[in-house]
């Protein structure tokens, strides 16, 4: 759909603004090059920090416990305030905004969970199954940035003080800690303004001098006051990003187009803003950091898509800056088709595209947890795969991994000493899957009890509806919606293993159970033919395959384990997801060989996706085969299980190619998919960049839900992307 009257034109940049943004791009490349040399590969999103190798910091002695750690509101508040004061005040004269974060505070100060609050009794279970328990997980929630934009830092401070007095709790440490964080931020901003004035005084170029003075004026205002203009709002957001990243590497932003739209419209109406200036301001936010944000999507009543001129400006800012940026475009049947098409054009041009958060699977799925559909529509894609209702929900997505590969491994060991049958194998898989899920649930109970007093969300608490009003950390009742996530991983590894046993041992009787155990114990050494026999079946993703039936069966049981009851002590609600992030290497690193032909310690399969190279016989690989499999195997309660598509640019360039891809996006939505991460690549460039990353330093790829410079990834990560891309031709 298109919106009548909406200006959907691309923004023409003035020479000055184009030069500024181009220079920011070059500076970003130089910063990354320095980081690569000094730190090494970063298998994560761009994380826009500026590296200061000589920076040192010592936490205030009064913040430290006797055992040398820092935990709790006031010690963390003290440390944060000191850190924000100590941080170098970075200003780039080509940016519209000041400030940058420099690295997580936890790299400099021992902020962590107190050992006495750790659930030691659960650790053996987590070790047995190589589980990522999620206990102590941080930052996987999202603030409502409009709270900050409305109040400003001064207003946030006033709010903390007001509610401290109004509630008069016996223990005021929540408020005292939050107050210290805000004070630290105000002091940081004030110093930044001083630095901008100093740089302006030294600057010879009149344009740059004026820009630096403007940065100073904006920051002087923002110390105490809320933003009034789009540029001030962008500066506020950049500061939020700096603070959020510094504390536990938070990365969630919000519905960015709607957050900025009032400022844009007001400035435009007053005649003080041109569109290319707006592009520059937003590009400067992205230069500051690559927080996850969303554009487009339905308003809560579902009656219209909220795409605005601001959505197009954000897209153009992304495209102009040409660095990895984590924006999701929310797709529904009412999506603005021009915005959708342009996002694909930009992805095709240089990889700086968005990913696609799909409304049906996300919204209707989330409403199955008992929440109204209108509330579900407020969930925004604010993490690499995950969604949250900004300011209202504490979802802790993407912090757990229920390693179904290990559930299968232990089930197979039970079969070895018990009944040799598929039924028994599945029965034992059910047992071990439940054991893992139950252990994560028990860990969540403890998390709920203790994380607030150890490592509270001192940043997000400020930007959520409830924590300050109630004096409670968002994890323990500060917000209304607690929805603890558990991610199941290695679905294809397990499903293909079941199918291989069913076909080769049970039906065809080509090998026996004993032979299977023998070759697994030997890691297939000397038995490559058997390994290939097991690997080369119709795997998950092939139409009408036994493996797909196993995948759905295993998925169903995992979902049941999550959903049939809450956590054992507090009955906290659980939402199942299936997302592995980039952890498939690590999660396979302890898993012995599996009957799908996977050797010892090789990576597990990705999220709920088929393994690369799954297609067989007459059914050659196609994006729709993969998309259909991922849609069928969704966990179904609104948390994303992403589809990664590496599309050959040649296909998109073909007449009608983009229309077909748009159709695929919509169809995946209607089939219940939740998220599409899209790469448009050519084989030649990808292989060249893998061989020598320096040849294509600008190549941007979508690793999973986040984008990264290909050259910044480690060789293992680059290989994952190569395998994924080339496997479509391997069949």
């Amino acid at each position: 759909m298109t919106s009548p009257g909406l200006n959907e034109d691309k923004v023409a940049l003035s020479p000055l603004i184009k030069r500024r943004i181009d220079t920011l791009h070059a500076d970003k490349m130089a910063i990354n090059d320095q980081k690569m040399k000094l730190i090494g590969p970063l298998d994560l999103d761009d994380w826009g920090f500026v590296h200061f190798p000589d920076f040192t910091f010592e936490a205030p002695p009064e913040a430290l416990r006797d055992d040398g750690i820092i935990c709790g509101y006031i010690p963390i508040g003290l440390t944060m305030r000191a850190f924000m004061n100590a941080m170098p005040k970075y200003i780039n004269k080509n940016s519209a905004l000041g400030g940058a974060w420099i690295k997580p505070i936890t790299d400099f100060a021992p902020i962590r969970m107190a050992p006495e609050d750790f659930p030691d009794e659960l650790q053996p279970v987590w070790d047995k199954y190589h589980t990522f328990p999620g206990f102590g997980g941080m930052n996987h929630c999202a603030g409502d940035i409009t709270i900050g934009l409305t109040l400003g830092w001064g207003g946030l401070l006033d709010k903390i003080r007001y509610y401290r007095a109004f509630n008069s709790p016996e223990d005021t440490s929540f408020y005292d800690g939050e107050e210290l964080v805000v004070l630290g931020m105000q002091e940081y901003i004030a110093e930044l303004a001083v630095e901008a004035r100093r740089l302006a005084a030294e600057e010879k170029n009149p344009n740059d001098k004026e820009n630096l003075n403007e940065i100073a004026r904006i920051n002087e205002w923002l110390v105490d006051n809320p933003p009034r203009t789009l540029r001030e709002a962008c500066q506020f957001i950049a500061h939020f990003q700096t603070l959020d990243r510094t504390y536990y590497v938070g990365g969630a932003l919000d519905q960015l187009d709607e957050a900025l739209r009032p400022y844009y419209e007001r400035d435009a109406a007053e005649g003080i803003l041109l569109d290319d200036e707006a592009v520059w301001y937003v590009a400067s936010v992205f230069f500051n950091d690559t927080h996850y944000s969303q554009i487009g999507g339905l308003i809560p009543d579902g009656s219209r898509d909220m795409t605005s001129r601001m959505s197009f400006i954000i897209l153009d800012a992304m495209h102009a800056l040409k660095i990895p940026i984590n924006i999701a475009l929310r797709v529904s049947d009412k999506v603005n088709e021009t915005l959708l098409r342009r996002s694909l054009e930009y992805t095709m041009e240089d990889g700086t595209g968005v990913d696609y958060s799909l409304n049906i699977g996300c919204e209707q799925g989330f409403s199955r947890n008992g929440y109204p559909l209108g509330l579900a529509r407020k969930r925004a894609k604010v993490g690499c795969n995950w969604t949250a209702i900004p300011g209202i929900e504490y979802p802790l997505q993407d912090v757990t991994r229920c390693n179904l590969g290990f559930a299968f491994y232990h089930a197979l060991q039970d079969v070895r000493v018990g009944e040799r049958s598929l039924d028994y194998l599945y029965e034992r898989l059910q047992f071990h899957t439940k054991a893992i899920v139950d252990s994560i649930k028990a860990g969540y109970d403890r998390h709920y009890e203790v994380v607030g007093r150890n490592t509270p969300e001192v940043v997000y608490n400020l930007f959520m509806h409830g924590p300050v009003e109630r004096g409670l950390n968002c994890s323990e009742g500060g917000v209304d919606v607690l929805s603890f996530n558990i991610d199941g991983v290695a679905l294809a590894t397990v499903a293909d293993s079941f199918a291989a046993i069913e076909q080769r041992i049970v039906k065809e009787q080509r090998i026996t159970w004993d032979e299977l155990f023998e070759v697994l114990d030997k890691n297939y050494e000397g038995h490559e033919d058997i390994r290939l026999m097991l690997a080369n079946i119709k795997r998950f993703g092939s139409p009408d395959s036994a493996a797909e039936k196993w995948a759905l069966k295993v998925r169903d049981h995992f979902v049941w384990c999550c959903k049939h009851e809450g956590t054992p002590k507090h009955n906290l609600p659980i939402i199942p997801g299936m997302f592995s992030h980039g952890t498939l290497i690590e999660l396979g690193s302890r898993l012995p060989a599996t009957p799908n032909g996977r050797k010892n310690y090789e990576p597990i399969s990705h999220s709920n996706e088929p393994d690369p190279g799954f297609a067989r016989g007459v059914d050659t690989f196609s994006p729709s085969l993969k998309a259909t499999a991922v849609a069928h195997a969704q966990p179904g309660y609104g948390n994303s299980a992403p589809l990664h598509l590496d599309i050959d640019t040649d296909m998109l360039a073909k007449h009608g190619g983009m229309d077909a891809l748009i159709a695929l996006i919509h169809t995946h939505n209607h089939m219940g998919g939740t998220l599409i991460n899209l790469n448009c690549l050519t084989e030649k460039i990808l292989l060249e960049a893998h061989e020598d990353p320096s040849i294509h330093p600008d190549l941007i790829v979508r690793v999973t839900g986040y984008s990264a410079f290909f050259a910044s990834l480690s060789k293992d990560y680059r290989q994952q992307i190569i395998d994924r891309f080339l496997s479509k031709r391997a069949g």
């Binding site: 290939l532 009408d544 059914d619 050659t620 729709s624 229309d659 169809t667």
Partner: protein, 297 residues
Amino acid sequence: MQATIFDIQRFSVYDGPGARTAVFFKGCNLRCRWCHNPESIATQPALEYTPERCIGCGRCIVACPERAHAIDGEGRHVLDRDRCVACLACVDTCFAEALTGVGQAMTPDELVAAVLTDAPYYARSGGGVTLTGGDCLLQPEFVREVLTQLKAEDVHTAVDTAGNVPWEWIEPLLPLIDLFLYDLKAVDPAVHEAWTGVSNERILDNLHRLIEQECRVWVRVPLIPGCNDAEMPAIARFLAPLAVERVEIMPYHKLAQGKYAALGMEHTGPICAIPTDSEIAATLRLFTNNRLPAYAS
């Protein structure tokens, strides 16, 4: 009733409008010397051998009733194509997939069930199913049954054909086919015969008849430098008065040469240069100057 299918390519954007499922039939009665789908020529399944995948397990030697497989003195697998009757008994034992069967016998019901898994994508994209090959029209009864079932499901249908079949085979199918992708390699009968092994009178006649019947037709013209490139002006002139919906120029590529080796077929055709962008553009202009909507594929 069965047909031998060697590929089901889903989400194809190269075989008609929208996202389509292209079904490749084995069997062709042309012998284009540049053929890029040599596996499509014979009607029966074929054995494809990819030596670099072989792990030397020797299972094929045991499985083969014709003793076509052996291990030579240096431990390398050797396939004797003269002995091989393409029974494909070895394929079932070759887990390394060095030996694979090209072609799978399918009934109309099986084929329709397979392609309909992508039906949701057709609806959104304006796509559908394209029967191609080889030449699917060499099996008109099978095609009629498949198309009848697809139309019952309201699926858009296209047939890609070289048109070298009796009109009586095509005519009954017309109500079932929404779009013809019609291959045209040359207008001059002698040139056509020299490069494809058959004359083109029937092909041109069938094309005229399709136009007379007001069928939707996209003409597909391979551009093979040194073979039929001199025919392009004549093809453009020939098509100019016809109500074809579009013309697709299909530039030569060299991707097929490995296929010939894997199938044990000798590649006797010319090794042509790949057309440059400017050559493709010039060819397109020939057609557009004749008011034909032409695109490069």
